[in-house]
């Protein structure tokens, strides 16, 4: 059973019609920008409830809630063959537990339902998951490989949601034999304007550490995550993969790379008791971080590298780059050139016959409006 005509596999461009969920989130927006340069992408459609936060050249934005009947109509009408789901909330401070559950579990199920069914055109599903899937416990191995099962039940709501969301995607993969399902479990991300737990901790004047612990910490640069998603869309790489940069650093090493003073002020025991007073002092350590700050976590990244993916940054380089961004931000502040989405302008740019589309160079040029 083949999903595609054989000649498309060799040489001749295989056209892709791609749907990106959560296109207004950081990852969705960046992936859409990256895929716009990918010639074989015949159509890129981004769905989200909010308006895009990044300037997109030819990605078509559809404002829609993650309701499966609506999504399913879009998927079928546009004959989407590749769906990329990048909306997973992986930090408990980014959303209330209720919102996170709604987003991570319920919406994932809705999206999967929209891609399911006998006449669904979807052949590829890429899911951005998180290394929080593994949790963080005292008796963990030093390097998680993708085939390890977690020994302990999830401790926190956010972990539970991530585990549940991934299970839904795996069930979908089992149900839809022949579909290429890729799950990417990303390590802690550092990057220029992505908000993560480590980004917050490293932005503090000093680096809070747990007294008597120096956990092993692994990062991945935001650009590498985008490329990893791109790689999953472009190549056929079904399976579960860890996405983590080379090199596992000790947190003290991270502190010195980032030029921060390591401050062992968090007590080794009784996290629950001190969390509240610390929060009052303005230091909020997310629940899922406490164990990471004690035991640390390392991932084996060889499986994804074996599929032909190369990382642009090591963990150390990611921290160094992040330190540069922080220093720059201290001087120039948050630059306020944020993108403002305006529906009329976007429509004019895309569809108006008066917009000059040059035959080469401009990404907008060659693309014909997809016939819906």
């Amino acid at each position: 059973m083949r999903w595609w005509p054989s000649e498309s596999r060799c040489g001749l461009a295989e056209r892709r019609r791609i749907l990106i969920t959560g296109v207004s989130s950081y990852w969705g927006g960046r992936l859409a920008q990256a895929l716009e340069g990918f010639e074989q992408a015949e159509a890129i459609i981004g769905v989200d409830e909010r308006e895009p936060t990044r300037e997109l050249e030819r990605t078509e934005y559809v404002k829609v809630s993650n309701h499966h009947s609506l999504l399913s109509r879009i998927v079928r009408a546009a004959e989407i063959d590749t769906v990329v789901d990048t909306r997973l909330v992986v930090n408990s401070f980014a959303a209330s537990p209720r919102e996170a559950h709604e987003n991570n579990v319920i919406d994932t199920m809705n999206i999967l339902a929209a891609c399911d069914g006998p006449e669904s055109p979807v052949k590829r599903f890429v899911f951005k998951c998180s290394a929080h899937w593994y949790g963080c416990e005292q008796d963990d191995p030093a390097f998680f490989t993708e085939d390890m099962e977690r020994k302990h039940p999830p401790r926190f709501a956010i972990e539970r949601d991530i585990v549940e969301a991934e299970r839904a995607v795996r069930d979908y993969a089992a149900r839809r034999q022949g579909a290429l399902v890729t799950i990417l479990r990303c390590a802690n991300v550092l990057g220029r304007d992505v908000e993560t737990a480590y980004e917050r901790i490293l932005s503090l004047p000093a680096l809070p550490m747990v007294l008597g612990f120096d956990p092993r910490t692994q990062f991945v640069h935001a650009d590498d995550v985008v490329h990893a998603l791109e790689h999953a869309v472009i190549s056929d790489v079904p399976g579960v993969f860890n996405v983590a940069a080379d090199g596992v650093l000790a947190l003290s090493e991270v502190a010195s790379l980032a030029g921060k003073l390591p401050l062992p002020i968090l007590p080794p025991f009784g996290a629950g008791l001190v969390a509240q007073p610390l929060r009052r002092l303005g230091l909020r350590v997310p629940d899922e971080m406490w164990n990471l700050l004690r035991f640390g976590r390392g991932l084996d990244n060889r499986a994804y590298k074996a599929t032909g993916f190369d990382y642009g940054f090591t963990s150390r380089e990611a921290v160094l780059r992040f330190a540069e961004h922080m220093r720059l931000r201290k001087v120039i502040g948050d630059s306020d050139d944020a993108f403002h989405y305006d529906r009329e302008v976007e429509e004019f740019l895309r569809w108006s016959p008066n917009v000059r589309r040059e035959p080469s160079g401009e990404p907008t040029s060659e693309v014909q409006p997809p016939s819906l």
Partner: protein
């Protein structure tokens, strides 16, 4: 960055590859960044070097006056699993074996010492132990070290049962776990080198255990030794100057046992573990019988 737009040849139609089907070739292990002072396990050459040049040097040469036999049985390259008897409240045997290889071996390789997961959760230990080459005794860790990184790994199959035992039970090996170390070596196609250490039992004899203090301190056990707890935590290093003798026995090649496929044969695993245990036990008895004095050898 190579982000080839050409799809690699892959005709698998299975939704998700079965566990273990993913390729993790050795060549793709992260290279060591020259600017770093620690490796990916958290080992610090600097901290280790300081330890080695001061404390270990003193204990190895002056205090325990260690004698080594059969160092040539430690392979100069490739992964090998060293299996030793274990004793002493804060066991000095592991550090002495590591030091012996660094001092006597023609290729002074570093040795990774497996320790209980407990230490990862105890403040202080958690920070220090990885820096001096200790790794939690997880089968996946041992496999990665032996197979992927081809290192020397030291295990104590007796585990805590060995270090807890009282002075009067000295040189009587405890149960050798469930043979997990044999499985690990077979999976990694690594050699097993049995090691016998004489002297550690007398260097840190345990006279009794205090269960109440064990609960209060959260330690694995709270022993009464000649120096602990009388001199506080430092008393753990208050070893008596027993004469140390380390004997490395001939390596056992797990490839001859049937390699990774034979791991499923639990009877084989158990009998090999049993054999190694009695081999070490017999050698220990012989070494103790030959010893004229605990202090002078």
């Amino acid at each position: 960055m190579t982000r080839s737009p050409v799809a690699p040849e892959r005709t698998s139609l299975a939704a998700l590859p079965a566990p273990g089907a993913l390729a993790r070739p050795r060549e793709l292990l992260p290279a060591i960044e020259p600017d770093r002072r620690l490796d990916d396990w958290g080992r610090s050459e600097r901290v280790e070097g300081v330890f080695d040049a001061t404390l270990l040097e003193f204990f190895y040469k002056r205090w325990f006056r260690t004698e080594v036999e059969g160092i040539e049985n430690v392979p100069s390259d490739g992964g090998a699993l060293l299996v030793s008897n274990h004793s002493g409240a804060l066991p000095p045997d592991a550090a002495m074996i590591a030091k012996a290889i660094r001092e006597e071996h023609p290729n002074p390789r570093s040795l990774q010492i497996t320790v209980e997961h407990f230490f990862k959760g105890y403040p202080g230990f958690s920070m220090l132990l990885p820096k001096i080459g200790c790794v939690a005794a997880h089968p996946a860790n041992v496999h990665r070290l032996l197979y992927d990184e081809r290192q020397l790994v030291l295990v104590f199959p007796e585990g805590r049962k060995g270090t807890e035992k009282l002075y009067r039970e000295r040189y009587q090996l405890r149960r050798f776990g469930r043979g997990g170390f044999v499985e690990a070596a077979m999976r990694a196609r690594a050699q097993i080198v049995p090691v016998c250490v004489v002297g550690a039992e007398e260097a840190a004899p345990i006279f009794a255990h205090v269960n109440f203090m064990k609960r209060v301190t959260g330690l694995l056990y709270f022993p009464i030794t000649p120096a602990f707890p009388w001199f506080g935590p430092l008393g753990m290093l208050g070893y008596l100057p027993a004469k140390f003798k380390i004997r490395f026995l001939e390596p056992i090649d797990t490839a001859d046992l049937g390699g990774p496929e034979a791991v499923a044969d639990k009877a084989l695993v158990q009998s090999v573990a049993q054999e190694i245990r009695s081999l070490i036990q017999d050698n220990l008895h012989e070494m103790v019988a030959k010893r004229k004095s605990v202090w002078f050898g």
